[in-house]
């Protein structure tokens, strides 16, 4: 899961704000559609500015226009932006051998930002580098022949990837068919970097890539800057016509911990763009004042939900789980999230292929009480888990109060967001009864929701993500079957069916899809900004009015 970064609201905005007010905005004078320097802000530094390592929305947004993998996601909004298109490869891969062999060809003449030519073997190096660094993305690529062993030993090479630097041919052999592999080839984790890139975190000096911009300076804790990639205009842009060249000359990203300060500085024109939405307290004010002119809400492919541990009483009883689904009211949670989620009652969120809206459990306390009466659970002592980040902690308090109203003796356990998922992902943690969780897509493929979150075979003692510990054999088999097929209209229908079948089992009580936003200064062209479902704000689409 790509995590939504921890939003830390610090009391003081510290030096970054001062630095900003000092440098001002060289572009605020405006001047045409092309050029200018964008002053932007993040609340926290991305986990990594290293393509093989970053696994957050912050990092992916920051690197979308700096590194291009063999395949990439179209620089477009909505469903169109979920389309996988050729990146550094000439065309989409030729899939043969029953779905186990992927053949690609690198475009000729590509150069990294430092002028070095891009070689086919750089792809293999990038994959190996990712495994050597124990990247969070490793699990997407362990189906490559020899990758599992390489990941464990970090010795030798991955025999399943054959490359030819002179012809640019890349052949990838998988141990079994993998229907999501095109999506995974389009992730940052396997974006080629020069062969001499050190096998350690390069956040402080990001390696050169292929893209319209390059990171000219990175100071963790302070910010980072982009300039136009000198090679882009010379060679690469002609070779990669599908990738836009961008309008801005420079982008400076500052770290400003106080989100309220960020909002103020947008209003004053000191900042042009901020990554995080306005803080909860000011969200509505900003929305009312600037919607349509400087503010736009943007959808994400995500689901917020309460999970129920099906392996233990009382939630091993289907009726109890269904009762909870009837009791949880997405409308109440929409308010708790200040309107920053859109209510839903199913696993797949809008925007995900295979999404078909349905509502199995329209809110009804009477129905919930009736089901509970029938089930009459003997174990009424429940621990409710949530993390301490607002408003997830409030969602947890709402859920606990709801369970109390239903006659349970519920106790709330609030854990620091840094280790929340580690704790609830450890199946030996005592009293894992029920609690809050969310899931943001890694890539727009429905398997990314079902396989890690519901497949009984995916239950593991630590780092477990199947929080309800649901293990329905016939449904597991369906997930496994679909995982090997390429996604088409028939598969999408089957995923929609799977969504319903799981919700009939009610291991989750889903309640919403997160919306994020873009808030820009008055001299930025809001309408032109592209929001890619996977990479979010596309820097190459931002321009001054």
């Amino acid at each position: 899961m790509k995590k939504l970064g921890v939003v830390i609201v610090a009391i003081v905005s510290i030096a970054a704000a001062l630095a900003l007010s000092a440098c001002g905005s060289s572009s605020s004078g405006g001047g045409g559609k092309e050029g200018g320097t964008l002053e932007g802000a993040y609340t926290s530094y991305p986990d990594y500015l290293d393509p093989q390592l970053s696994y957050t929305a912050e990092g992916w947004t920051a690197m979308y226009n700096v590194y291009t993998p063999l395949l990439t996601y179209k620089h477009a909004d909505g469903a169109e932006g979920s389309e996988v298109i050729p990146g550094l490869a000439k065309a989409l891969p030729k899939v043969t051998n029953g779905g186990k062999t992927y053949t690609l060809e690198l475009r000729k003449g590509l150069k990294y930002a430092n002028g070095e030519p891009v070689k086919a073997s750089d792809f293999k190096n990038a994959v190996e580098r990712m495994f050597k660094l124990d990247s969070g993305g490793s699990s997407f690529y362990t189906d490559i022949v020899g990758a599992e062993k390489f990941f464990e030993t970090k010795q030798g090479e991955i025999s399943g990837i054959e490359t030819n630097d002179s012809t640019g041919k890349i052949v990838i052999n998988l141990v079994k068919p993998r229907g999501t592999f095109n999506n995974e080839l389009a992730l940052m984790f396997v974006a080629p970097v020069p062969a001499n890139t050190p096998d350690k975190d390069q956040t402080a000096s990001p390696p050169p890539g292929v893209g319209p911009y390059t990171i000219s300076k990175s100071e963790p804790g302070t910010g980072w800057d982009y300039v136009r990639n000198p090679q882009w205009a010379k060679t690469d842009s002609k070779l990669l016509p599908e990738i836009p060249s961008g309008h801005l000359d420079k982008i400076n990203i500052h770290l400003i911990r106080n989100q309220s300060t960020q909002v103020n500085e947008i209003e004053q024109g000191k900042l042009n763009w901020i990554f995080d939405p306005p803080p909860a307290d000011r969200y509505q004010e900003v929305k009312e004042k600037y919607e349509g002119t400087q503010f736009k809400t943007e959808p994400t492919i995500s689901t917020y939900y309460f999970w129920m541990n099906t392996a233990q009483p009382p939630f091993n009883d289907l009726k109890v789980r269904q009762a909870i689904n009837y009791a949880v009211d997405p409308a109440a949670l929409e308010r708790i999230y200040s309107g920053q989620i859109a209510g839903t009652q199913q696993i797949l969120p809008p925007g995900m292929p295979g999404y078909k809206k349905f509502e199995l459990y329209p809110h009804s306390m009477a129905k919930a009480e009736e089901l509970l009466k029938e089930a009459n659970p003997s174990d009424k002592d429940i621990t409710v888990w949530t993390d301490s980040e607002s408003p997830n902690n409030e969602a947890g308090a709402y859920y606990q109060d709801l369970l109390k109203k239903l006659g349970f003796n519920a106790e709330l356990k609030i854990v620091n967001p840094d280790n929340y998922f580690t704790i609830i992902g450890n199946t030996s943690t005592p009293n894992l009864d029920t609690g809050w969780a969310d899931w943001f897509e890694d890539y727009p493929h429905p398997n990314d929701f079902f396989d890690p979150l519901f497949n009984g075979e995916a239950i593991q003692p630590t780092n477990n993500e199947n929080f309800p510990q649901i293990d329905e054999k016939p449904l597991n088999a369906k997930i496994d079957k679909l995982a090997e097929e390429q996604l088409g209209p028939q598969q999408e229908d089957e995923y929609a069916e799977l969504d319903k079948e799981y919700m009939e089992q009610a291991p989750w009580a889903p309640y919403g899809t997160r919306t994020l936003s873009n808030f820009v200064s008055s001299n930025i062209d809001l309408e032109g900004i592209i929001w890619n479902p996977t990479f979010e704000t596309d820097f190459s689409s931002i321009s001054f009015k």
């Binding site: 004010e285 308010r335 708790i336 408003p391 308090a397 109390k404 106790e411």
Partner: protein, 363 residues
């Protein structure tokens, strides 16, 4: 005299032990406690603040009554989607934007007197009352723990001196060296998930006992050291020598001879420790290492309110004001108590101030 147990029911020293000293001209035979009491009665400000403190205590003790009979809701009951009628007008407890209703005073029959607490729509008044119970309970209980340990350690260190003193005093120094809030945050965070396990005793992570124990523990050196200092000087007094000559055991000397002479100090420290510990509790809960949600304390309410500081500032101001008033009343009363029990301290202060005054003016 020293052989006799203290007078029944009187926790203080015998009159001839001379501490607190009898005022010149006081009627013969009047106990120093009585004299102190008369002095306290003359201090109107201290009494007024004591009255304020009692009002606050009554306010928080009335929480269940207000909750059941007036507000008809509990401190953790959510009302996110509910509508209430305020003076005949229907209003939403939480607007769709997540903004809570402000104070409606008695417009809804006592419901939401101070409005709702945020997106969950809990009754702010009820939470304020219950939160106060938590804050005062933690302040009082942890102060008790602090005082008991400080007395025992202070007596042991001051009376035995030597190696015992070195060990205890250095241990206290180590504790003292660590900023109290940092230590409390570290302990609070560490104990939050798993709770505390000492042998067969297990305290759950969200139990109130955790902040009580932590706060009680981290404050010990701040009281133990002054007590040790006082014991060090008291143990050289003649009545201790007399007790030793008569063959009294060390335990007897510590607890029967020395302890009664410390009571005036201890009582003053106790009131101030309650106030200090309440402040630590507020800070801890504000930082998320104290009282665990959904339970409220004034500190955690300030923290929750800070989320809405622009749109509903009252949510932080109310609990903040309550902490301020409680701590202020305890401190002012504590000062008055000290003046009453040990007027020499005040005299000393006034003399110093008088000496410093003209010099300060000259500069």
């Amino acid at each position: 005299m020293a052989f006799e147990p203290p007078a029944a029911g009187l926790p203080g020293p015998g009159p001839d032990e001379g501490f607190p000293p009898a005022e010149a001209g006081a009627p013969a035979g009047e106990s120093p406690w009585r004299i102190a009491y008369r002095r306290l009665l003359r201090n109107r400000i201290a009494l007024a603040f004591l009255g304020l403190f009692f009002l606050i205590v009554v306010f928080v003790l009335a929480a269940p009554i207000w909750a059941t009979h007036v507000a008809h809701t509990g401190p953790n009951t959510t009302h996110t989607l509910e509508k209430i009628s305020v003076n005949g007008e229907t209003k939403e407890v939480v607007e769709p934007s997540g903004r809570p209703i402000g104070p409606v005073w008695l417009g809804a029959g006592g419901k939401f007197f101070f409005g709702a607490d945020g997106r969950l729509g809990r009754d702010e008044m009820v939470r304020l009352m219950y939160g106060g119970r938590t804050s005062l309970l933690i302040g009082f209980s942890s102060a008790l723990i602090t005082i008991v340990f400080a007395i025992v350690l202070g007596l042991l260190a001051g009376y035995y001196k030597g190696a015992t003193d070195s060990v205890i005093a250095r241990a206290m120094d180590v504790l003292w060296a660590i900023p109290v809030l940092l230590l409390a945050i570290a302990l609070g965070t560490a104990l939050a998930v798993g709770g505390l396990r000492i042998g067969p005793i297990h305290v759950a992570g969200n139990s109130l006992l955790i902040p009580i124990l932590i706060i009680g523990f981290v404050s010990i050196p701040y009281i133990a050291r002054p007590i040790r200092g006082e014991v060090l000087s008291l143990r050289e007094k003649e009545f201790v020598e007399a007790a030793v000559a008569q063959g009294a055991s060390a335990r007897r000397i510590m607890f029967v001879e020395l302890l009664p002479n410390l009571w005036s100090t201890i009582i003053v420290f106790f009131t101030i420790t309650i106030a200090n510990n309440m402040l630590i509790e507020s800070a801890l809960s504000f930082l998320g290492a104290g009282v665990r949600p959904p339970n409220s304390s004034w500190g955690s309410m300030i923290s929750e309110g800070s989320d809405l500081i622009y749109s509903a500032p009252l949510l932080s101001i109310l609990p903040g004001a309550m902490v301020l008033l409680t701590v202020l009343s305890l401190n002012v009363f504590g000062d008055g108590l000290r003046d009453a029990l040990d007027p020499r301290a005040k005299v000393r202060l006034e003399v110093t101030a008088a000496q410093a005054g003209p010099e300060g003016a000259a500069i």
